[in-house]
């Protein structure tokens, strides 16, 4: 019994390490592919900067995925349920705390600035297909971002009309969904032209399915929220992290919710997805509105943490009260 419970610890570490390495590799590959430009190589040192930026982003996702895999081991070899649960929770907490410290520095450090490679979006001498029409760029004189980025002889073919812009600059716009770009004609030579996607050649090819981008966005908002707390109040950060991981570990009860393992697996994944969706909901206008209705200031401040703490406690209770049958 105890042996099985103890073995969950190296199992979780091993699964996390594998999942983290795979997700990190895939994320860097995806970033590289979207930024690829056959004419302009990426700036020197891109890989190092992207590695540290991506490592932080995939920490939470890797841990959740590792937990999901571990739950099925826990289902088959539960050991001591209480010990297994708290060992898992403790190791998860240590992994995330240590991971965040390694990637972002000691508690109290300011949140990292978002890293965005300064890379020309357009391939010179090429026709680019965008939502707004076809765009030919004759010359690309530099990176396409808010600082620099010069285009010469831009020809747009939109709705049957040809438009020529002799000189233009490009700005990247961040927002929901894929990034878009704005071509700003130099001088008073016409209205700006919005292009979506921002990198018209390679971004559409390597655009992840919507359900992945949406998940990545939600995970990023959770990460942002945690890092913000970590900078302002490290103690709050620890409590919030604990609440989140308590909820995540409590989801083990879904892995044995029914006697159909396949359904349990899908249910667990769906619950994890719902967890991140809830983070988005709490950060949305409605969530903020609900929070503002709480009369006690300290509860209002800790609203997010308390919600997850409550859910975590509930799931933990369900986990212990309904232990389910051992399945082989």
């Amino acid at each position: 019994m105890l042996k099985d419970s103890l073995l969950h610890l190296p199992a979780l570490l091993l699964i996390f390490a594998v999942v983290f390495a795979v997700l990190l590799g895939l994320s860097i590959l995806a970033s590289w592919a979207v930024l690829f430009n056959p004419v302009f190589p990426l700036e020197p040192g891109w890989f190092g900067k992207q590695l540290s930026a991506t490592a932080g982003e995939v920490l939470i996702a890797s841990l959740f995925l590792a937990l999901c895999v571990l739950f099925f081991r826990m289902r088959k070899r539960p050991g001591n349920r209480v010990l297994s649960f708290f060992f898992t929770l403790a190791v998860s907490f240590i992994i995330l705390s240590a991971g965040v410290t390694v990637v972002y520095g000691p508690p109290g450090s300011p949140p990292p600035k978002e890293y965005g490679a300064s890379q020309p979006l357009f391939v010179p001498g090429t026709i680019h297909n965008t939502d707004g029409g076809l765009v030919y760029v004759h010359e690309v004189n530099g990176p396409s971002d808010l600082i620099g980025g010069g285009l010469t002889n831009v020809v747009l073919y939109t709705d049957g009309n040809l438009r020529h812009v002799r000189h233009a600059s490009v700005a990247i716009r961040n927002g929901d969904g894929p990034k878009s770009a704005v071509i700003l004609p130099s001088g008073d030579t016409g209205d700006p032209v919005i292009l979506r996607p921002a990198n018209p050649v390679y971004q559409p090819i390597f655009e992840p399915p919507r359900f992945i981008t949406s998940l990545v966005d939600d995970i990023a908002s959770l990460e942002g929220l945690l890092l913000e707390k970590r900078t302002v109040a490290p103690a709050d950060f620890s409590l919030t992290l604990f609440a989140i991981l308590l909820t995540a570990t409590g989801c083990v009860c879904f892995s044995r919710a029914t006697r159909w393992p396949l359904f349990n697996a899908i249910l667990t994944l769906a619950v994890f997805r719902g967890f991140f969706f809830m983070v988005r909901f709490l950060g949305s206008d409605i969530g903020i509105e609900i929070r503002s209705m709480i009369p006690i200031a300290s509860v209002r401040e800790m609203f997010f943490t308390l919600v997850f703490l409550a859910i975590g406690v509930l799931l933990t209770a369900v986990n212990f009260v309904f232990p389910g049958k051992k399945h082989g």
Binding site: T126, I127, H138, L162, Y202, I205, T258, R259, L262, F263
Partner: protein
């Protein structure tokens, strides 16, 4: 043993029934989805009947892999026969079933490839054509509105007729046309298209025949026709040859004969006409378009004034023929305007070795037996220093081959009756020209339109060659090659994911029979989960193979693709074999 055979038959029958049921239900679901999601924004309502089954089939084929995986998962997991005892033959039945199932999956994979590579591009092409026709028809409806505001009833009538040829029951267009005809009278438009003129083919005649015709005309006292044939025979004969000499003498004698008539009053009139004809003939011999057009109008006037004047008719015929090599008649382009064709062409039009860069945009091209017509043409040319050398626009044009078999786009449109209504290109920069060379061939031009660039509408073998066609005209080649590689991967994905679904489904089947609540929920959730998983798998494969291609090129990408597919198939079979082995071990216990 008998029990094993029963279990085998039970398991096999359940798998077949469940998978076929999932196929059928998903097809019905896609049909219902298509029925309620008709995109009026992109398609005319009249196309709804065609669009719905096409879109249903597209959705079904594109989602066949997740549908199939969901079917396998449900069949082998939820609907797997209960396992009342380890001593039943169910595990053996699964082991026996594995081999035949793998064979069936490979065969189904073949069906999937046939559908996705044989039928799917055709369906995409048809949907694209419907969208294209919608776009063109709506454009004409807008133009009809513009013509109405400008008070141009003839154009409004024409545009409405074009629109109604596509959407004959559209009440808005019918009302507008009825109102227009009520106001103007139907006859005012001359709705029937002019009959095509007989083409002159005199250049094909032998010199001796031309001389024979000249002499026959002289005998009939039709001296002008005789002069024309003699002059033509002289022009076509080698210099100094007996035929040239004979033709020259005949032409001179006809001129002397005509000169002798000048004294006569009647002959003076004929002489005046002769002068006009001579001038028109001279114009016709020119290679300058305005002169040839002038000759055409002259001969047309003469032929109308004297329908018996065979000479004027002949010259008119010849001038039409010559004009058609230098320009186009506007009514021809208008006649074909409503026909479907490639739309939204945009391409680099750089001649080999040129240090300039030319971009051409063509709103649409229509290929007919009479030639290839283009509309809404715009082009811009940059010099080596990036400065604009020329920029022009023309509302219509005709693409023809020159003597060197190059495609030339002629942009001057001749009105058959009104010489002041000539359509000319508008130059905002550079020296005006009547025509310009189109570098892509006619076949390539069609691929440069919005439909031609739609990768989904290509069969794999054509997609493979599309790179060579589109890249020289400014389009990036990597997306095409990656799409081709992913098409190959799709066929493998069907088999690999089927095997994995079989393994996972069997491994994670419910204990103790059908779970009512989870089972009911699972029937609804499992297809969605299968869909998401297949999309995720596709994305990962695209990322790995696409990145390899960008980093190291096409050949390494093919190698990586094949290696990955091989590894995944081996893994899937190994996982299935392990499952089968596990079943045997369980049985032996």
């Amino acid at each position: 043993m008998a029990k094993t055979r029963d279990d085998y038959a039970l398991l096999r029958n359940r798998i077949i029934i469940v998978i076929l049921s999932v196929y059928g239900l998903s097809f019905v679901g896609f049909f219902a989805y298509s029925l309620f999601t008709f995109p009026e924004k992109y398609f005319l309502h009249v196309f709804r009947v065609q669009w719905t089954p096409l879109q249903t089939l597209v959705n079904f084929i594109e989602n066949l892999t997740p549908v199939h995986c969901a079917g396998v998962l449900l069949a082998c997991s939820l609907f797997a026969p209960p396992q009342p005892s380890l001593k039943t033959g169910l595990e053996d039945a699964f082991t026996r079933l594995v081999f035949s199932t793998v064979i069936v999956f490979v065969l189904l994979g073949g069906v999937f490839v046939t559908l996705s590579e044989g039928l799917l591009p055709v369906l995409h092409g048809r949907l694209g054509a419907l969208e294209n026709r919608t776009s063109v028809a709506r454009n004409y409806l807008e133009l009809a509105g513009e013509a109405r505001r400008e008070g141009n009833r003839r154009l409004q009538n024409a545009y409405l007729e074009y629109y109604l040829s596509v959407d004959p029951d559209n009440s808005e267009a019918l009302d507008a046309l009825a109102e227009l005809r009520k106001r103007s009278g139907e006859d005012a438009f001359g709705t029937s298209a002019p009959a095509p003129l007989k083409r002159a083919r005199l250049m094909d005649l032998e010199t001796s025949e031309l001389l024979g015709r000249a002499m026959a005309s002289v005998q009939e006292e039709d001296y002008y026709t005789g002069y024309y044939f003699a002059d033509l025979a002289k022009a076509l004969s080698p210099a100094g040859s007996p035929e040239a000499k004979q033709a020259g003498e005949l032409a001179a004698s006809i001129q002397r004969r005509l000169a002798s008539f000048r004294a006569d009053t009647e002959e003076r009139e004929r002489n005046a006409i002769f002068e006009i004809k001579t001038q028109a003939h001279s114009d016709l011999m020119s290679d300058e378009l305005p002169l040839v057009a002038r000759a055409y109008y002259t001969f047309r006037l003469l032929a109308e004034n004297d329908p018996d004047d065979t000479e004027a008719a002949n010259y008119l015929s010849r001038s039409v023929a010559k004009l058609k090599t230098m320009a186009f008649f506007r009514d021809e382009e208008e006649r074909f305007a409503s026909m479907p064709g490639a739309n939204g062409l945009f391409f680099l039009n750089n001649e080999p070795g040129a240090d300039t860069t030319e971009l051409v945009a063509i709103g649409g091209i229509i290929v007919t037996e009479d030639g290839t017509y283009a509309r809404d043409i715009e082009a811009i040319t940059f010099g080596g220093d990036g400065g604009t050398i020329s920029r022009f626009a023309a509302s219509a044009g005709k693409i023809m081959k020159d003597e060197e078999d190059r495609s030339i786009l002629y942009m001057v449109g001749i009105d058959r009756t009104d010489s002041s209504n000539t359509l000319l290109p508008e130059y905002t920069a550079g020296e005006p020209q009547d025509n310009f060379r189109i570098v892509p061939s006619l076949d390539e031009l069609e691929l440069l339109g919005s439909e031609g660039r739609d990768i989904a509408s290509y069969h794999l073998h054509r997609l493979w060659g599309l790179w060579d066609i589109l890249v020289p005209y400014g389009y990036p080649g990597d997306p095409i090659r990656i799409a081709a590689l992913m098409r190959v991967a799709e066929a493998f994905a069907f088999i690999i994911l089927s095997l994995l679904a079989l393994t996972i489904g069997w491994r994670l089947r419910p204990a103790g029979g059908f779970p009512v609540v989870a089972g009911t929920a699972g029937i609804l959730i499992l297809p969605v989960a299968a869909y998401l998983f297949v999309r995720f798998y596709d994305y990962l494969l695209m990322l790995l193979v696409g990145s390899t291609m960008l980093a190291w090129g096409f050949t390494p990408a093919i190698i990586v693709l094949i290696a990955l597919q091989f590894a995944l198939i081996v893994f899937a079979i190994a996982a299935l074999a392990a499952q089968s082995l596990k079943s045997r071990e369980t049985r032996s216990v």
